[in-house]
């Protein structure tokens, strides 16, 4: 059907690859806590202060894809396969087992975004890798299998469908208007205010038009920049600040929901595009998986984005 799927049998060996009783807390020893560094593969990057680490990036122990294999493509009758070349890394966002991303001080959230950026720059040197998705599953309903705050990076040997769809929507808009569609969205939302949750000089957070799920949120840097790779420190700080406030708002408004957070950015080694604009998307997980969405690719959202934005604007959080 023209789609690529990653078949990753090693992931079925994970303690909780399948099925129901996933522990809300790690029953035993947390592999992400200080003192247990030997439980993860050797680190790829770390931030240290006074000898203790405050953030680590390690290869995923149950990788969906890996770099140490030969790239190959095969045909099998009418079917096509390629070797699962790629990278799958884990960003351990804090040394403290109990602190969630929402609870971290601003510089720590900035450090998480900077770690994504550093790893993206490093991975972009592998010419077999075409794109990178940074994402975070928070909470069991979102698919998190460990409590300790972490995000993940997956670099792929192709450009995945969801990113390709955004890239081509951006190209279509640009072809007609010679403007970036996300810059146009930022401009229209800034004027209309209805779907804006918060704004600063460098960033804006909205519940987008045609939000696919209740309280879907986007954070966009105001300045046009296609790739997260080249975002400036000021921009990362502004986005981290917006993210921190949003996470604290949804914690209050939606009672600490599970959520997916992810980064959409240009394919690797293509930093300059007039028609794409990097951004973060945040999707609280408030409903169970629904068959209609899977069957149709069309979303039913019971919460108009204007209501979500208005509700979150009015939600007070303390700095």
């Amino acid at each position: 059907m023209g789609r690529w799927v990653v078949i990753a049998p090693e992931r079925a060996d994970r303690p909780s690859a399948f099925l129901r009783p996933v522990p809300e807390q790690d029953g035993g020893v947390c592999p992400f806590c200080p003192g247990n560094e030997s439980m993860t593969p050797p680190e790829l990057l770390a931030r240290r202060e006074n000898g203790a680490w405050s953030l680590r990036v390690v290869p995923n122990r149950y990788p969906a894809l890996r770099t140490e294999i030969q790239m190959s493509r095969n045909g099998l009758g009418m079917f096509d396969s390629m070797a699962g070349v790629g990278a799958h890394e884990v960003v351990i966002e804090t040394a403290d087992h109990r602190t969630t991303l929402a609870e971290m001080p601003l510089p720590q959230i900035e450090a998480v975004l900077r770690a994504w950026q550093d790893r993206m720059l490093d991975l972009s040197r592998d010419m077999r890798l075409k794109s990178l998705i940074a994402f975070k599953n928070h909470g069991v309903p979102a698919g998190a299998t460990l409590f300790h705050a972490h995000s993940q990076l997956i670099a792929l040997p192709f450009v995945p469908d969801a990113l390709e769809a955004e890239l081509s929507a951006g190209r279509r808009h640009f072809a007609g208007k010679e403007r970036c569609v996300w810059c146009d969205i930022v401009a229209q939302e800034t004027r209309e205010k209805e779907r804006v949750v918060l704004e600063s000089e460098r960033a804006i957070a909205i519940s987008p038009w045609a939000a696919r799920s209740p309280f879907e949120l986007w954070i966009l840097p105001r300045e046009h920049r296609s790739s997260f790779e080249t975002a400036s420190a000021d921009e990362l700080r502004a986005v981290a600040e917006a993210l921190r406030t949003l996470l604290r708002k949804i914690d209050v408004a939606l009672e600490k929901p599970a959520f997916h957070l992810f980064l959409h950015t240009m394919p690797l080694r293509e930093p300059l595009s007039d028609s794409y604009h990097w951004h973060l998307e945040l999707k609280p997980v408030l409903t169970q998986q629904a068959g209609f969405e899977w069957a149709s690719g069309c979303y039913i959202n019971p919460t108009p984005p204007e209501e979500a934005a208005s509700f979150l604007r009015q939600t007070e959080v303390f700095p």
Copy 2:
């Protein structure tokens, strides 16, 4: 971003539109049980034997879309909207509160498929409706909010993405080879056997190449027919038989998992196509929602379809 989303605020009024504690059993009175017919809107179709009904179709009480509104399209700056014209119906598959689809006798499963077909034929007379998805969410993790066995029909005023992607993949294959891609899949799988779970004269069940999730299964009628609307009684019986055996196999092999079941068929009023082939898809829900899939549109599947098929072939069920 070029995608349609159904914004359906009325669905937020459902008893369990949001959030965690969804009862595994209906706490109170089941609106789908005999005697409680007044709890549903008036029926659109029913099968009766000896005065008692054995299957009913009713409008959804919390519809995502409805037929009684004016069709309209609007622009709002750069954004587009259209009125939520459509239909959302519920098929109450049995009078018995406790019987699951897997546990029903074959003629009852046939009756469910026939009810889908009858409603599809009736809805296709409304020229505003372009496509129909029949689907079933079984179990709380799959999004079911009531225990009593039921499926749903949603007719849309557009062709949704997932169906459009299949239609165009079919057209591309046909353009090169003048053969239906699903007929080719049936032929190759029948030869290779590796991904086949069961076969009969008129139908085949496989775990498809590039399955997107563990134990994803497809049931295909062998005969080329683009639309479910025109499927014969013999064909429906063969598909019902395959479905019944598959459901019983996954109940044994995967310990009564939650699942999504759905029908993919041609858009309404287009019964004849050389390049599309109606089929059922069955997706056991074995993992939590994962952010990577949402972020990328790319699936990571820890279970190779060959393993899933082999496991299910060996799973014994009693007739």
